[in-house]
């Protein structure tokens, strides 16, 4: 099958695999944090659930929702990456991922982004950057919620 390079870059095997078999695709009944993400442009909706332990480390994470392959795969890969990480590190990865998706840095500049390189193809498609980052933005929002609660 002859596909354009752009299509091949965007729909890499790992993305297609996570789209078809999303990991941690479930509701967590008693999350410590949760948030809903919505991309009104394409109607993508997803919920992210988190369980942090007392050291602010991700014990469990999951998502459910409906979206395009890019947003679903991104959410799925995100859950596998942030598990067992401290939230500071999670945020650092998110910032790096965001910079990579928007073309501010190269995918191979940051070793932490190794498993996220598959998404570097979105930089050629401004309309799809939001798809790739929706899950991360939602996770970030869930964590922010907590900060408001803890500072009270």
């Amino acid at each position: 099958m002859l596909l354009t390079n752009r299509t091949k870059n965007l729909y890499q095997e790992v993305i297609l695999d996570h789209n078809k078999n999303p990991r941690n695709f479930r509701v967590i009944e008693h999350p410590s944090h949760t948030a809903k993400g919505h991309n009104p442009l394409c109607g993508d909706k997803l919920d992210v659930y988190l369980v942090l332990d007392e050291n602010q480390t991700v014990q469990d994470v999951s998502f459910v929702g409906d979206g395009c392959a890019i947003s679903k795969a991104s959410a799925s890969i995100m859950t596998t990456i942030v598990k067992d990480k401290h939230i500071d590190e999670v945020r650092t990865i998110f910032r790096g991922f965001h910079d990579m998706a928007t073309g501010k840095i190269e995918a191979d500049e940051d070793p932490k982004l190794r498993r996220l390189r598959a998404f570097s193809g979105v930089r050629d498609l401004p309309a799809r950057v939001k798809c790739a980052t929706l899950a991360w933005h939602t996770l970030d929002a869930a964590l922010k919620d907590e900060e408001i609660i803890t500072t009270e």
Binding site: M1, L16, R128
Partner: protein, 423 residues
């Protein structure tokens, strides 16, 4: 990945020479996208302009431009003549009785908002009902909800059947004395359904109900005769009939327009102003406050000349052939389901594909040079009706070819292959 299922090839169609000639009048159609020939199948969003329309707009700017109805100088007179000449072209095009019934707006959306304000504000209130069909574009929903907020009028939804036709029995049953207006599109942008507007308007007229018809998707394709349809209001946009953006038309029956208050206030819409008293200008100027989109009106007139210069029955029949060809070819694509299969349809094909999100389809098709629309098509209630979040939509115009439909189908087969879709 499994090989694509290639069923028997459909009957081969040849794009007529007349259509190939027409294509040459639209320069944009020969450009490339992602190094592939562009297959522009997003005409329901906006149609392309022929050179003649662009030349007319340029000539207007190069030679005649000035403000209208204001100056005694030569240019102002010429600009006014062109602007009013275009209005006369519109009148003839939709067969309105009088140019006073042809009001320039910035588009369908503005025209529908105008009705909701100028007619709605003083005509409806608590205890009244406005019926809106389940297949409306947001432009024919939101202004009515805003009116409901202002006045307390109740909005009720006319249901649609599974194939995307309006449920006429349910509609008739809803026509109780509280109903003051019925808002329906002539052609649905999301489903392609052509609604029986003449029948609907007739049922309204018998009961003294105002009919508001959104003709945005109709005028570029069907022959529209507002007297024959006998509608109270009819709205459409220039950019969906090969004219420029920024111009649209509101047609209305004279008694209604005469009684309505203006929508926007400003220059041109008044006869006299003092701080004690203001007298509204006559129709249609009462509704045209401020400097209007003059070049765009002239462009719309040129688009009408363009359409009139062709055998519109031939163009319509050809579009219908494209529609049946698209139905045939896309049925060969594994896992594809059509949304909207009404017997009376414009050349619009909306569909979903098993396990593949329309957004991904749109991106992959773009990579193959095929421009389609994906999403909710500003018609979220239609998506809800079918329990889906979005569709992919290919919408055709008379300059599309059978080969472009093949290009669409081949691109869709690539999607099925990449995503491993089977029936």
């Amino acid at each position: 990945m499994s090989a694509p299922v290639t069923k028997q090839r459909a009957t081969h169609y040849e794009t007529p020479g007349r259509i190939l000639d027409i294509r040459r009048e639209f320069p944009i159609l020969s450009r490339k996208v992602q190094e592939k020939p562009l297959a522009y199948l997003d005409n329901a969003a906006s149609t392309q302009m022929p050179s003649k329309v662009m030349e007319t707009i340029t000539a207007y700017h190069e030679f005649h431009h000035s403000n209208v109805h204001r100056g005694v100088h030569q240019l102002s007179q010429e600009a006014s003549d062109l602007y009013e000449g275009a209005r006369e072209k519109v009148r003839r095009f939709i067969h309105a009785r009088d140019t006073r019934q042809v009001i320039y707006t910035s588009g369908t959306t503005a025209a529908l908002n105008l009705i909701a304000h100028s007619w709605g504000n003083s005509r409806v209130g608590k205890g009244d009902t406005i019926l809106v069909s389940n297949m409306e574009h947001h432009a024919n929903i939101v202004p009515w909800y805003m009116l409901a907020k202002r006045t307390g009028v109740q909005i009720k939804v006319i249901p649609i059947l599974d194939d995307g036709t309006l449920d006429m029995d349910a509609f008739e049953a809803m026509l109780d004395p509280s109903v003051k207006a019925v808002c329906v599109n002539h052609v649905s942008n999301a489903l392609g359904t052509v609604n029986p507007v003449r029948t609907i308007a007739g049922m309204c007229r018998e009961r003294g109900i105002v009919s508001v018809i959104d003709g945005a998707q109709a005028v570029g394709h069907l022959k529209v005769d507002v007297q024959e349809l006998d509608v109270d209001f009819y709205a459409f946009s220039g950019h969906k009939m090969h004219g420029p953006t920024g111009i649209g038309i509101l047609y209305g029956k004279l008694p209604l327009l005469n009684e309505m208050e203006p929508f926007l206030g400003g220059g041109d819409m008044i006869l006299s102003v003092s701080f004690d008293n203001i007298t509204w200008n006559d129709l249609p100027f009462k509704f045209e406050a401020g400097t209007p989109p003059i070049a765009q009106a002239v462009g719309l007139g040129a688009a009408i000349d363009y359409l009139n210069g062709h055998d519109r029955t031939f163009l319509y029949d050809y579009e219908q052939q494209l529609l049946s060809y698209a139905n045939e070819r896309l049925a060969e694509v594994p896992g594809l389901t059509f949304i909207g299969t009404a017997p009376q349809k414009a050349a619009i094909v909306s569909f979903v594909m098993k396990d593949v999100h329309p957004h991904d389809i749109g991106t992959i098709l773009d990579g193959e040079g095929v421009a389609v629309r994906t999403g909710q098509h500003c018609a979220e209630p239609v998506m809800d009706r079918y329990g889906i979040s979005s569709t992919t939509r290919a919408s055709m115009a008379f300059y599309n070819t059978f080969e472009e439909i093949d290009q669409l189908r081949d691109a869709l087969l690539k999607v099925t292959e990449l995503f491993d879709v089977t029936d």
